[in-house]
Symmetry: C2
Subunit: 340 residues, 2 copies
């Protein structure tokens, strides 16, 4: 592997000059510049990133941690993130945490061990434990948890997201306003505080409307198609079958939609379906899905800006930054048909 030394030797200059040529070309005389350049092309030299980062003490890398590539929701958020990253000359690396569950400490360590300058955790279901106590002073690590509603123990991490409880409550109230009172809810998983919050919003709306939530109306959908389909079948077989089903995300709503139609029931005539996220498929489903939209790109942008502030050592607090959500009404929901 060719290093800066060989380039220097070939160009007949010192390594310092080569280094300068690369990082501060203006400080090098024209004639020298040429010599160095030819030596570089001749050797095919490329600066060793490992050495450079080591020397500089920073990698210029930001990790974005998300549960799965292949999840349509994150596309928009990534857009926002990458746009800002480009401006600010950071490189984004995505880490997928499919099943391997890293702890908050692991992430903290990534920063501490200089693997990355900052980390964005996107709705990453990970078994968060108590915050890491590091003797060196634990405050203000450049880590942001976005989209996800964090548990109390983690509230010291800054965060950008919608108000999941409020959004879910509003959506439920919309169903109620359509005349529905038997409403099923499919949440994600017990470790997904995000969908748990959405469940909370659902229950709150029901309670305020003085509508009971029957046993078995709230089921787990596992955040995936299969899980949602099973959950839906449970709901369809329930003695008091819901007239509307609210799914904690659109992915699950897709499974629900399919399962209802497989049972020869119609959406929304027999059962209304409501999703969450407004992924790109929502509007081309059959019927197009009523859902809660998140300003994905904005979440990404805000998150990056805030993270970069933290990287620069500025204080960004540990508050949750709430962005607005919006109910998008399409055709998968309709007024309750009075069947009596």
């Amino acid at each position: 592997m060719v290093s800066i030394k060989e380039v220097a030797k070939l160009a007949g200059v010192s390594i310092a000059t080569v280094s300068r040529y690369i990082n501060n070309p203006d400080q090098v005389k024209d004639a020298t510049r040429e010599k160095v350049q030819t030596a570089i092309t001749q050797t095919g030299y490329a600066p060793n990133t490992l050495a450079r980062n080591f020397r500089r003490g920073k990698s210029g890398i930001i990790f974005v941690v998300l549960p799965s590539v292949g999840d349509p929701f994150f596309e928009g958020v990534m857009h926002g993130i990458m746009q800002v990253a480009e401006e600010l000359h950071y490189t984004i690396f995505i880490r997928e945490t499919q099943f391997n569950t890293l702890t908050a400490d692991d992430y903290s360590n990534m920063i501490f061990s200089k693997q990355a300058d900052g980390i964005i955790l996107l709705a990453s279901v990970c078994p968060f434990t108590a915050p890491l106590e590091r003797p060196g002073g634990n405050k203000q690590q450049p880590i942001i948890i976005s989209c996800e509603s964090v548990t109390p123990e983690l509230s010291h991490f800054p965060s950008v997201r919608i108000d999941n409880i409020a959004a879910s409550k509003e959506a439920t109230e919309y169903l109620i306003s359509l005349g529905h009172s038997n409403i099923g809810f499919i949440y994600g998983s017990h470790v997904s505080t995000l969908t748990l919050d959405r469940e909370r919003g659902f229950r709150r709306a029901m309670k305020e409307a003085k509508m009971p939530v029957a046993d078995g109306w709230v089921v787990e959908g596992g955040l995936n198609l299969d899980g949602a389909r099973k959950a839906t079948r449970k709901l369809l077989n329930h003695p008091q079958r819901p007239t509307a089903i609210f799914c904690a995300n659109d992915e699950m709503a897709m499974g629900t939609l399919h399962e209802i139609k497989s049972a020869k029931l119609r959406v929304p005539e027999d059962i209304s379906v409501l999703g969450f996220d407004d992924i790109r498929y929502a509007e081309i489903l059959d019927p197009p899905l009523t859902t809660v939209a998140q300003p994905a790109e904005e979440i990404g942008e805000r998150t990056m800006h805030r993270l970069c502030k933290a990287i620069e050592g500025r204080d960004i607090g540990d508050e949750v930054e709430i962005v607005p959500h919006k109910l998008v009404v399409r055709r998968s929901t309709s007024p309750l048909k009075k069947s009596k």
Copy 2:
């Protein structure tokens, strides 16, 4: 930032011992081990990855480059990749190349500058130029291009994929066997050799069956929903309206399905639809989509194994490794209804 030195001092040992404790604990006496461990917890020390990688001359990182997170197809491939990566102790980083188009040289440089030990390009539409000529000897860089059918200039990169032409030809023959002769084809984009190959397979089947492909039956779908919807509208308005539409991937097929139904036509009674990839949504679409399945996980596994061989310096050739595809017949295709 606390370094190994301070840990050594606090523990009353040399830095070498601390290093050994971390990398080869068995070579350290029990008593010493404890001393070191307490010093580590006390200081909150974490090895500086930058320095470590620098010293080792390798990062243990493999880049996976893909066009977009949010693309359901890659999930399976990533599964395969990550499983092998875990076994072999590599860390996977995903880079998204949404619009920013890196050249083959850029990738080559990533290897050369030690940013990564190896690179997997997954169906990444990037403006490949002539192979990089590097004085140091350009042969056998640890770069693999998977899923994508590469252009001739790039055939020196090893590759793992299905035979897109053959698969597409077979799928077309299936449509023909159902009695269809007016078949529309929606390809991805002019820079996506992958979908161009699928088009080639389509045309080959049509030609062998002596069926003409009318002007305007082959349209560009842009690899996304909107593009596919527009393309579908063109097809529906064509004077010789196709009785079947073959989409170069499932994402586009989803758009096509929706657009056909929006035009009050039925699938498959009026128009059959055929997709490609067998993403997880294929079976829950309405109607469930007939499509060509790729062994995604297998592609991922094979790719990683081959790449690791290359990283170890072994010769892996530059052949294309072909994995089997399979036509999955569901309900979006049916025999041509004789309407005369």
